[in-house]
């Protein structure tokens, strides 16, 4: 951070209120999260990178949220974020409508929260018990929508290089790959949500996909996603999600496909669960994901490229101020067979990763939390096969 950033931080810290700000007779509510995460530089392993330059374990993040609700049945919601004070990104901006006052049915239009899974909709500063993200939502695989491998060898060559992947077909510029589900961008489209008894239904039509949310469309079809959740008893939530949407860039799909809409999709199936009672909170998610890429050259990538991820996390409140938390996380990939690499043996197309993160925190005040974690990562390939990170974070919300 330079001097200007430091001054902005000081100014911000002095101005932060103790609770959400109400304006216009309570029709406008403004909240925010300020999170400063401290950790060592990582120029070799990139386990926690969210793109080229931003590291989730070493980041200053400001998020401002606002809700304008002029009537009981209409609201406009926005979330504006900046990471490391570099850019300001409208993370969410949508209108929410409840057509029938007495029915729990809502429609949201704009840059909307994902209906798939559970993690991406949570508020990072207040609802993430640790500092790092689950692998499925953050770890950059070597897949890109705008550049694709011509052969299995091209793909295998990029194993463990998702932070900066290049391929011979499509964009020649090196760029980060995508995670299974992006926790850093939301998609644009329409979604509907309804509640009936213990069930919760939501569905969305968007222009991007889980791994590549978009504001403007760059592919040859829409993504359709949905989630059914049940709350059989208070404190237990079980969710089942599915999605399918055109993933590969339109120009590439046109060049190597048959012209069908929704060709070369990403499809995914997810299960999530949360249980809390007393001082315990336990969550878990499992995701099965497939990317369908064009078949171009030999050795061919004939099957969809699969990635599976699962994590379990838990938090225990030791007392009014203290908590401990841990997450165990695994990300694996299906196998492809090259010729030049790995002796022609079937090999996972990206390097499987295991992550264990544990830590604790203290509530300095209700909305000011200090956390510390140790995170250990193991990867089956790449320049760095395993690495341990220590990270501390202070977060404030209002």
């Amino acid at each position: 951070m330079n001097t200007a950033h430091w001054l902005v931080c000081c100014l911000l810290a002095q101005m932060l209120p103790a609770g959400p700000i109400e304006l216009a007779r309570g029709t406008v509510t403004v909240g925010g999260d300020v999170t400063a995460t401290f950790g060592a530089k990582d120029d070799t392993a990139f386990f926690n990178f969210t793109d080229y330059e931003n590291n989730a374990l070493r980041m200053f993040r400001v998020s401002l949220t606002a809700n304008w609700r002029p009537s009981e049945q209409f609201a406009v919601v926005t979330d504006i974020r900046s990471e490391d004070l570099e850019r300001v990104i409208p993370y969410a901006l949508y209108a929410r409508v409840r057509p029938w006052k007495s029915r729990p049915f809502d429609i949201q239009v704009g840059r909307i929260p994902p209906v798939f899974g559970a993690f991406a909709r949570r508020s990072y500063g207040t609802d993430n018990p640790l500092i790092g993200y689950p692998l499925a939502y953050q770890y950059l695989t070597s897949i890109r929508p705008d550049a694709i491998p011509a052969t299995a060898d091209d793909l295998l060559f990029m194993r463990a290089r998702g932070w900066r992947a290049t391929y011979p077909v499509g964009s020649p510029e090196p760029a980060p790959g995508v995670p299974l589900i992006s926790a850093y961008r939301w998609d644009t489209g329409v979604e509907a949500h309804a509640t009936g008894g213990v069930f919760d239904f939501s569905g969305a039509v968007t222009v991007g996909t889980l791994s590549n949310p978009r504001v403007t469309d760059d592919n040859r079809g829409r993504q359709y996603s949905g989630r059914v959740a049940a709350t059989p008893v208070v404190g237990l939530v079980l969710g089942l999600s599915g999605s399918r949407g055109a993933f590969v860039d339109r120009a590439l799909a046109d060049a190597y496909g048959t012209g069908g809409r929704g060709e070369f999709p990403q499809d995914a199936l997810g299960m999530d669960a949360e249980y809390s009672r007393g001082y315990w909170l336990v969550r878990g998610e499992a995701i099965w994901n497939h990317w369908h890429l064009p078949v171009i050259g030999a050795p061919q990538i004939t099957d969809p490229l699969s990635a599976r991820s699962a994590f379990v996390e838990s938090r225990y409140r030791l007392g009014p101020r203290y908590f401990v938390a841990a997450r165990v996380d695994r990300l694996t990939f299906s196998k492809v067979t090259g010729v030049r690499l790995y002796n022609g043996q079937p090999t996972p197309w990206d390097a499987p990763v295991t992550r264990v993160e544990a830590g604790g925190g203290v509530y300095l005040q209700r909305n000011l939390t200090l956390r510390g974690v140790i995170q250990r990562n193991w990867r089956d390939a790449g320049r760095v096969l395993d690495k341990t990170y220590l990270s501390a974070q202070i977060s404030f919300w209002f």
């Binding site: 951070m1 000081c10 309570g26 101020r321």
Partner: protein
């Protein structure tokens, strides 16, 4: 992240509401004025607290990740005040009977929003809602965390020390309440019209103070005297 950012965040203001406030026996210099240990006719202090604040809804943080419209909530009545004697008659500290009070969790709010009790009182926190709640406080007067418990269940905690306890729900950020714990029984919570009445006050001269959540800094005070024959004394306040 660098150190300056940490320093900047640590500089974040500490809410004035979390500062402890003297609700105990009071200051020694004014205690000399009291004659509460006398036995005889008692009086009452009554009046009205005119709190001129706008009723605001219970502001919930915007939740962009929510998939549905949150229910509209009734405004919290921030006009509720607690009127108390500071200091109180000396005899006030002799009572030690077991007391019990109740603060419900209903429609994602604490009911009542303001509760005044004597130190040593057990307060029940029944969950009468449709969802989990997690009642906690980080107040210096008393820290506690009751954990998550479901509808129909209740947990209780004994408030031992005089002071102000700010109560929250760990799950619903818009839920908050105040518990004022006194070392004596000479206090009253105002009714819906802002009226109050403190009965059984022995003859003497007292300072009447008013607590209201909208007041920052020292509470409004007024000196009143109860004559030897008892009787009612009026003490009105206006809070803007």
């Amino acid at each position: 992240m660098r150190i300056p950012a940490l320093c900047a965040l640590v500089a974040v203001l500490v809410s004035p509401l979390s500062r402890p406030m003297a609700l105990g026996p009071g200051r020694s210099e004014t205690a000399a004025l009291n004659s509460g240990d006398r036995v005889g006719a008692t009086g009452a202090i009554r009046g009205r607290i005119d709190v001129r604040v706008t009723l605001a809804p219970a502001a919930a943080r915007p939740d962009p990740g929510a998939l549905s419209m949150a229910a509209m909530r009734d405004p919290i009545d921030r006009r509720k005040s607690v009127v108390y004697l500071d200091p109180a008659p000396q005899a006030a500290f002799e009572a030690s009977e077991q007391r019990r009070a109740r603060m419900d969790q209903r429609d994602e709010r604490f009911v009542p929003h303001v509760l005044a009790i004597v130190a040593g009182t057990w307060v029940d926190f029944p969950n009468d809602d449709k969802t989990y709640h997690n009642v906690f406080s980080l107040s210096k007067t008393q820290e506690f965390n009751l954990g998550r418990y479901a509808v129909g269940h209740s947990k209780a905690i004994r408030f031992e020390n005089p002071g102000i306890v700010r109560v929250f729900c760990d799950i619903h950020s818009h839920m908050s309440a105040f518990i004022l714990v006194f070392a004596h029984r000479y206090f009253a919570v105002t009714d819906d019209e802002g009226r109050y009445r403190i009965d059984g006050v022995p003859p003497g001269t007292y300072t009447v103070a008013v607590w209201n959540e909208t007041v920052r800094g020292d509470p409004p005070r007024r000196t009143v005297a109860i004559g030897e024959g008892g009787g009612d004394v009026d003490a009105d306040f206006s809070i803007k």
